[in-house]
């Protein structure tokens, strides 16, 4: 998967947790999950779990710490899926 492909799929993971669909539609790698998408921090674990399920990966503590913005999420998903191949 390319980073762009991951980004497209990531929108589906993030969608249940943001009401700002306009912001979600225009996300880029610098988009902050909390500040830009207004995702409540209480949903950060949900996003990690949903990403694990979607990509059949396991996200450890250190990787989870990076998932504060879209670029960080893509980094983690890319790294973990590459480890599987």
């Amino acid at each position: 998967m390319t980073r762009q492909e991951i980004l497209i799929e990531l929108k589906k993971v993030l969608s249940p947790y943001t009401l700002d669909k306009e912001a979600l539609a225009s996300i880029d790698e610098n988009t902050d999950l909390i500040k830009d998408l207004k995702i409540n921090s209480a949903n950060l674990v949900d996003i990690i779990i949903d990403a694990e399920t979607k990509y059949n990966i396991e996200i450890d503590y250190d990787a989870a710490d990076k998932m504060v913005n879209v670029g960080g999420c893509i980094d983690v998903i890319e790294e973990k899926t590459n480890q599987q191949t």
Binding site: D20, N40, S41, A42, L44, V45, D46, I49, Y61, A64
Partner: protein, 222 residues
């Protein structure tokens, strides 16, 4: 000693109870020795979802407390370790708010001791049928810590933001004659209390989740 404020609110109607009870979920932020805390007699009766969100709220409050003086700090819940919890004598009170207070001497609280970055923190958490509210300090003295929580009608982020600002500014307005108090968010997301264009020295913390908003601020010598 650093003066700061850190709080968090969890709306218990907004959580996914079943998911929270799954080890796969809570093991993302409850780590190491914390997994032994529920076996303590004083916590054995607490539902798993309450325990999980209590620890989450404590950890997030510590992060907010520290972030004020370290804007680049990343929220890493697994590195914020809740070492001990002393429970309230009565586990839950019926109120869903609003409630406000100075310190926690008159509240049934869960008191926690937390370790993070080689520092100790202390928290007070109120658990009701509606919410879990936590306020953190770097000393075990909360007498200068003011806090409040109240239910709101709409859970949209925009409404939460308006309501939590009105809530804290109304309280702060009882102490000062300033009429230009306002909250400015730093690029890090940390809220700063201004009087007009001037930054005040009063540390504030804001929280919202679901149908609740909450504030905390540290104010001495009033």
């Amino acid at each position: 000693m650093i003066i700061s404020a850190g709080n968090d609110i969890v709306d218990l109607q907004a959580i996914d109870t079943e998911r929270t009870r799954e080890p796969r979920f809570y093991s993302k932020f409850i780590t190491g020795p914390e997994t032994q805390l529920p076996s303590l007699p004083q916590l054995a009766a607490m539902p798993t979802e309450y325990f999980a969100w209590l620890l989450w709220s404590v950890k997030e409050s510590v992060y907010k407390f520290e972030q004020r003086h370290n804007p680049g700090l990343v929220f890493s819940p697994s590195k914020i370790v809740v070492e001990h919890i002393t429970p309230a004598l009565s586990m839950a009170c019926a109120t869903t708010g609003p409630i406000e207070g100075q310190g926690f001497d008159e509240q049934p609280c869960y008191n926690s001791i937390i370790a993070f970055n080689q520092n100790k923190f202390y928290s007070r958490s109120i658990i009701t049928s509606g919410f879990i509210l936590t306020v953190v300090n770097n000393s075990d003295n909360f007498e200068n810590m003011y806090w409040g929580v109240k239910p709101i009608e709409d859970s949209s982020p925009a409404y939460q933001s308006i309501q939590v600002r009105e809530f804290i500014l109304k309280k702060l307005g009882t102490f000062f004659e300033f009429n230009q108090l306002n909250i400015v968010k730093m690029p890090s997301g940390c809220p700063i209390l201004h009087d007009g264009l001037t930054e005040t020295s009063i540390p504030v913390s804001l929280a919202h989740h679901g149908h609740y908003v909450a504030y905390a601020f540290h104010l001495a010598n009033v």
